[in-house]
């Protein structure tokens, strides 16, 4: 504890009083600290898990309630229709959900700043259209060149939005609302009377339709889990050995085992034959695309200085400015990343439908993306959230869409249920946060 040192030159005012006050202060703040972060004191696995549970209850760890909700939805739909948990439907759900997950990851960059990007739905449409145009017979670009150019164009759109927002100082809501309208117009202009742009490039279409072979699925899964496990173990054990804040070894192992188990389950599901006439097995390519984007953005946000600044701006922009952070640069970067990720989503979306058509509803897509991010635990007020939130949130949205579709409900019913789940998730989060503030 903080023992009072006798000051070299005792200030007038009385050392006795100081000492009593300091002890009281120390005791009070110690209690506060223990209440605030119980797991930091934990030594054993049991302590750690108990502390973790306390944190979940107080709304600190926001993904657990959502995972519970996802389980609940799964049980409900499975009891209504036994096809829901069939391998074929689950893989289908993953492919459907991938566009939502990617768009939600895009939206998270804007949400982390405390801003919003309403344009990503139609920006993704622009990405899909541009790639589809370039691989057409008359241009005959190779798929990789078309995709690269489409993604660069999307990044450019993000640069435009970001510059208007951060340098000119326009509200992100207005700029990206203009983006929502404007890029929809451009999309309709390009698609013209025909209303649809079919894609005939095999590899382009394979992104969402083809799968790894079952053997390759196992190998890729084992490699990914091994890489994750090695990194997690080395990271945590190095911190433990240098006496830094770190979870106990058993918790690290539990974490790795959890990831390995999810990997095995995923591959088992995907490797079950889901074809009707010809057998189809293996992990779809698109799962790897989503995983790659997830790893990339998690890395950027956690390990790079720019990523740290994104959180700092979302938490306290003035503090970041005083610390010398270039706000305009970081904000522009976020909008570039958001549009770039939207471009990836657009490619996946186009690849799944093997075409781009005027049916692409960017307005609905962007609102689903915001909903997925928020359901996954990202705050609308900035500073709180991470790319993995998008995965869970996207799964929830896709599960509702898919499960209600199986039951033959109309689009109207799906919208209402999605709205209720969104409200439920946000209410749960708000209540947990309120509990945390009062408990302080």
């Amino acid at each position: 504890m903080a023992k009072v040192e006798e000051p070299a030159a005792p200030p007038p005012g009385g050392a006795v009083g100081d000492e009593q006050l300091t002890e009281a202060a120390a005791a009070a703040s110690r209690e506060a600290a223990q209440r605030a972060a119980p797991e930091l004191e934990a030594e054993s696995l049991g302590d750690y898990l108990r502390a973790w549970f306390v944190r979940v209850k107080s709304g600190e760890s926001s993904s657990l309630p959502v995972i519970g909700g996802l389980l609940l939805i799964t049980i409900l739909f499975q009891s209504l229709n036994s096809l829901f948990l069939s391998a074929g439907n689950l893989v289908n759900l993953l492919i459907q959900g991938s566009a939502y997950m990617l768009l939600a990851m895009a939206e998270i960059f804007a949400l982390l700043l405390g801003e919003i990007d309403l344009s990503i739905g139609f920006v993704s449409g622009i990405g899909g259209i541009l790639a589809a145009e370039l691989v057409k017979q008359q241009y005959g670009w190779p798929w990789w060149a078309a995709i690269t150019v489409a993604l660069l164009a999307c990044a450019g759109i993000g640069l435009l939005h970001g510059t208007l927002i951060s340098r000119v100082g326009l509200p992100s809501f207005v700029v990206t609302l203009a983006g929502l309208l404007g890029w929809q117009g451009v999309m309709l202009l390009v698609l013209g009377k025909g209303g649809a742009l079919p894609i005939n490039d095999k590899i382009f279409n394979d992104i969402a339709s083809a799968s790894l072979s079952p053997v390759a699925s196992w190998i890729v899964m084992i490699l990914i889990v091994a890489a994750y496990g090695l990194r997690a173990w080395l990271h945590d054990s190095r911190r433990r050995s240098t006496g830094l804040v770190a979870p106990p070894a058993s918790f690290t192992l539990l974490k790795i085992a959890g990831v390995a188990a999810s990997g095995v389950v995923l591959v088992l599901i995907c490797n079950t034959n889901r074809g009707v006439r010809i057998p189809i097995r293996g992990v779809p390519w698109v799962v790897l695309v989503v995983l790659a984007v997830l790893v990339l953005w998690t890395f950027v946000l956690n390990r790079l200085r720019s990523g740290r600044y994104v959180y700092a701006i979302g938490g306290n922009a003035e503090a970041a400015r005083r610390a010398g952070v270039n706000l305009a640069r970081i904000k522009t970067m976020c909008f570039v990343f958001a549009s770039l990720t939207a471009g990836v989503a657009g490619l996946v979306y186009a690849s799944r439908l093997r075409s781009v058509s005027t049916a692409l509803d960017g307005g609905k897509l962007v609102l689903y993306a915001v909903a997925a991010a928020v359901i996954g635990g990202t705050s609308l007020f900035g500073g709180r959230g991470k790319p993995s939130n998008a995965i869970i949130g996207g799964l929830v949205i896709a599960a509702i869409d898919n499960g209600m579709g199986l039951q033959g409900y109309s689009a109207a019913a799906v919208y209402v249920v999605t709205a209720l789940v969104l409200l439920g998730a946000v209410t749960l989060d708000a209540l947990a946060r309120r509990g945390r503030t009062y408990g302080k």
């Binding site: 009072v4 009083g17 100081d18 006050l21 703040s29 240098t242 959180y311 306290n316 500073g383």
Partner: protein, 284 residues
């Protein structure tokens, strides 16, 4: 009574100022905002290892003065000397480069980041282009330990979960982390309770004992007399007195703040004791 500005003989009491050049010397600082004269010919010396309290009524120019030192405002007249050399501070960066750090009233901490992340915000350490969390965590822990900020349980807890006094301690530790020589604090105890205030004042004292120069703005006379070695009083943009704290008492400072002069004799030390309940008064 003539104004006794920075009288050196009296100021050399128990203060380890080394007798050499003061850390910071202001000579005849003027600052005006349009027709409003905020500072007029302000002289001040700040010594290492000493807490200088800046007192004054609202609008006396305290904040303007520290902003001139912190490089936020450029003075319109006068000269600032840093360790004996004349310097010009046009930007907070210039001040930071000299070793001047300012702890603002609103703390400038990001609630969602943890203590380490806040302390290194804007000056993160990198290894191979990536954030070097371990080096930063070790440095932050060393700094907090050396300042005896031991009430914080983990330096990986978000700042949002800290008490007011702890947040202030983190903000001060952040200023010290950069081998700063002068720390300026604007009302560090304004929003704190009794116990938290004591914790922060103790920390302020410890900074001076480590050999840093400290300038502290406070409205609270208890705080001023508890922690300051020297008290500088501003009135309407003029420095009306800079004197060792033990030559002044509360009433004299209030007189100086309001009228610019004090005709009183310093009373017996007993009158200097804090009035708050629960504070046992030491006899000077």
């Amino acid at each position: 009574m003539s104004i006794d500005v920075g009288s050196e003989p009296a100021a050399t009491r128990s203060v380890p100022s080394g007798g050499a050049e003061p850390l910071l010397r202001l000579r005849g600082i003027d600052k005006n905002f349009g027709p409003v004269q905020a500072l007029t010919g302000v002289d001040l010396e700040v010594h290492s290892g000493e807490v200088t309290a800046l007192a004054g009524d609202n609008g006396a120019g305290k904040s303007v003065l520290i902003k001139c030192i912190a490089g936020i405002h450029s003075p319109d007249g006068g000269q600032i000397y840093w360790e004996g050399r004349p310097v010009h501070l046009h930007h907070p960066r210039d001040a930071a480069a000299l070793g001047i750090e300012t702890v603002y009233q609103d703390l400038a901490l990001a609630d969602n980041l943890d203590i380490v992340q806040n302390m290194f915000l804007g000056r993160e350490r990198l290894r191979h282009g990536l954030l070097d969390e371990e080096a930063m965590e070790i440095s932050a822990r060393e700094t907090l330990t050396s300042l005896a900020v031991t009430t914080v349980r983990s330096i990986r807890q978000p700042v949002a979960s800290l008490s007011g006094g702890q947040r202030q301690s983190v903000a001060i530790a952040k200023a010290v982390l950069w081998n700063s020589k002068l720390v300026i604090m604007d009302e560090p105890t304004a929003a704190l309770g009794v116990a938290q205030t004591a914790m922060v004042l103790e920390l302020v004292r410890r900074l001076a004992d480590r050999g840093l120069g400290v300038v502290i703005i406070s409205h609270n006379m208890n705080d001023v007399f508890q922690v300051a070695d020297r008290i500088a009083v501003l009135q309407l943009g003029k420095m009306v007195a800079v004197r060792p704290a033990d030559e002044l008492d509360r009433q004299m400072v209030v007189d100086l703040m309001t009228s610019g002069v004090s005709t009183r004799e310093r009373q017996a030390p007993a009158s200097v004791t804090p009035k708050e309940a629960g504070t046992t008064d030491g006899q000077g």
